[in-house]
Symmetry: C2
Subunit: 464 residues, 2 copies
């Protein structure tokens, strides 16, 4: 019986402005269907029982990850890293978790949560082949046959020694320059490193102990048979290191299994363009787009009209609060813009104007001198926490649906057009006990008007 | 004593999405100062008494033109064409207006309202020289020495015969192709047609009679000594024809005076780029722009962050509801996008999300099933009309300033945080009698939610 580990950390810098630090790539619905995280869960649930799937994410994304997975499986385990320490500590910790908690030593399949795999059947077949190799004590990595000299991926050089359906790895090599990448492709014995791994829990922990004993030392302080919690003070002692550096580049127990199932890491807008369907001019148009004579360009509109004229190899992305226009072969530099915004303390790298919450979402409509106006949507059956604010009063106007408001212990039912004042410090809650969405305009008045001005008394999502 | 005619028609297609059909180029504040219309008025007021300046615009723009000019001069004359018939009927009508109304036959200076002239001193000097030539019975046109083979302008070929400081015109020629434009420049006797003219009223009307008698025939039906009104049924009989076709290309009384005062017709985003100050990479950045390595590009943000990476010769314009990304040498095709939107009945060509009114402005924040949310700003001393609605109720929340609300004859004073319900059919008015801006959130509920659902009882701007 296999176990699965979904790595759902991800900082969301490379698909900015669609992804944000607080709403990264794995959580986004790129094509109005499920998110990449949800697609990943469903994919591995084809070969692993749901209850054996563990997701690992950061505290910042915990409620969103839990919320997205809750629609797919009941009580799936989501572990929360109190601080990001790259992949090696997270993977080692998950292996320890399975051993401690379930008292078994199964093969664990590790998958990133933000990649695209178009052929799920081929994926399941490769996992089954990989499982047999992992059972023999190898760390198995999924290798992708390179199709062009990509300089943004790590490569894996293989030997000619077969291990069942796989092959023994000679060495992991870092991201090459273009010249080197071309040589790797001509050589024929190099594969792209997909970040998908399989191993027995005990194998991984032995190799970690051998090559990164500083991780093993911290691991000993955990006992998951008692609690799922990962205390900050302990986890912070972990080195910040990737599984490639910590183990894969050093171990001699690495095997590679070729995977040919339409893999793409969606690591840039260019790769989104590559995997999307194009029109006769080679353009990818998503949303409200009007074009005159552009070629080989990507136009993404989340709401407003995007008009393009005569562009060639350009990416244009429109979101509520930021616009990106970028040469297609420079989309890796989006990360630089993201970092600059972070340095400038410009919140545009951090959140969207629309912020998703377990109960629905809100959009900031207008901000001014001492006021803030939001539109709030509460999904059916959901409710905001019972809360109060020390520095602001609120005024709600119901737009759609029927809202239940509890104000200082008194229940009120409000229909569209009804409004209510929530005074400073009053204990209140906005709820939607019915089956249609509730939409409300909220006008906040006060100073400072910050999300942190909230005292929670009760919360159905455990945020008290 | 000269008279002035400001042509303030303009459909606003070429600087879309910043300009709109209902808020064209001449009304826009391009650099947070005055609009092009206001700058035009102030420029000609340097050589013409304010009371002799007439503006001609379409009914669609009448209230905005009046409003913008009201801050510069009291009781300036604004004539309103009930339908657009191009420049010849408008100019001939203005000449007739001056003769009828003021019983004088002065020199009239005709200027477009949406061009840029950087050197006002040189303009005044040229007008004074031009006046003398016009007094001698010539139609004087301001010619611009071409600096490159522009194919978007008409050219004027001159003879070697001097008339005071001007020169006699050989012929007006239409927009040339590039090859021809290059020949014109090499020839040295060709000038760009700036659209600025001077003539005695009687001279123009004689030439119109000679070369476009169908215009003169309709003119006879007007008598402006009695009324400033231009009835639709009469004006609609005018041919739709430009002054160039109707008179300038045919008359032998045309003189040209060279004008060298930093003229630009701002006819495209490319020309906005040309006249703007550039940074060391040749970029023009207006508003909230973050760039990584672009060159020779124009980035315009009206509110949201515009991030650009590696662009070359690209124009990116962000407005509240539409984004334009365009190759700099294709900005004339913006007109095509505008026309396509018009055909598709997409309102994005027509109005902004922010709509300016004589009393201030409103911005549509959110629309949904049976509701519409606006932010309304009422400028100091202004008030909305006394009105009622048959199909919607309204709810107002004051954000900033102190509002006076009159509801069914009752006066209320509302401070920030106060709210009020305006029931269906109730007669009401929102006013700002104080010296600070009033900002209000308005939530409309009803069906249909259209601007036309308004019955006006009283209006300080004459809109009843």
């Amino acid at each position: 019986m296999m176990y699965g580990l979904i790595l759902a950390g991800g900082s969301g810098s490379r698909l900015w402005p669609l992804s944000r630090e607080l709403y990264p790539k794995q959580l986004i619905n790129l094509q109005d269907k499920e998110s990449l995280l949800q697609a990943t869960f469903e994919r591995i649930a084809k070969c692993i029982p749901e209850e054996n799937i563990i997701s690992m994410t950061g505290v910042k994304h915990l409620s969103n990850v839990k919320y997205q997975l809750s629609s797919l499986a009941k009580n799936t385990v989501v572990l929360s890293e109190p601080i990001s320490k790259n992949t090696a500590p997270a993977i080692a910790l998950a292996a320890k978790y399975v051993l401690d908690k379930y008292k078994v030593d199964p093969v664990i399949l590790v998958v990133p949560s933000d990649h695209l795999i178009s052929d799920n059947e081929s994926f399941v077949k490769t996992v089954k082949e990989g499982e047999k190799i992992a059972e023999k004590g190898y760390i198995v990595t999924f290798g992708i046959k390179p199709t062009y000299p990509e300089t943004g991926y790590g490569y894996i050089n293989v030997t000619s020694e077969s291990i069942l359906d796989g092959v023994k790895v000679n060495q992991f090599v870092e991201k090459p320059n273009e010249e080197l990448a071309k040589k790797y492709i001509a050589d024929g014995n190099y594969y792209w490193n997909s970040g998908i791994f399989m191993f027995k829990a005990s194998t991984l922990l032995e190799e970690v102990k051998k090559y990164s004993p500083e991780i093993s030392k911290v691991l000993e302080e955990f006992d998951f048979s008692k609690s799922d919690e990962i205390p900050f003070t302990i986890y912070d002692k972990m080195p910040s290191i990737s599984i490639d550096y910590a183990v894969m580049e050093k171990s001699d127990k690495i095997a590679l299994i070729k995977f040919d199932g339409g893999w793409n890491d969606l690591g840039s807008w260019k790769s989104i363009y590559d995997v999307s369907e194009k029109d006769k001019d080679g353009n990818v148009k998503i949303g409200h787009v009007l074009d005159e004579g552009s070629k080989n360009s990507l136009m993404y509109s989340s709401s407003k009209l995007v008009a393009t004229i005569g562009l060639e190899n350009i990416v244009v992305v429109e979101t509520e609060d930021a616009i990106l226009a970028c040469r297609a072969d420079k989309t890796q530099d989006v990360k630089k813009v993201f970092e600059t915004l972070k340095k400038q303390n410009d919140n545009t790298h951090l959140v969207h104007k629309t912020v998703y919450r377990p109960w629905g979402f809100y959009t900031v409509l207008a901000e001014g001198n001492g006021f803030l106006t939001k539109m709030i949507q509460v999904n059916p059956g959901q409710k905001l926490s019972v809360q109060s604010h020390n520095f602001r009063s609120e005024h709600w106007v119901v737009l759609e649906g029927t809202a239940k408001v509890v104000l200082e212990g008194k229940e009120l039912i409000l229909s569209p057009g009804h409004s209510i004042d929530i005074p400073l410090k009053a204990i209140h809650s906005l709820q939607n006990p019915y089956s249609e969405n509730v939409k409300v305009i909220e006008v906040q008045k006060g100073n400072p008007l910050i999300e942190e001005d909230i005292i929670r008394y009760e919360d159905m999502y455990g945020r008290v």
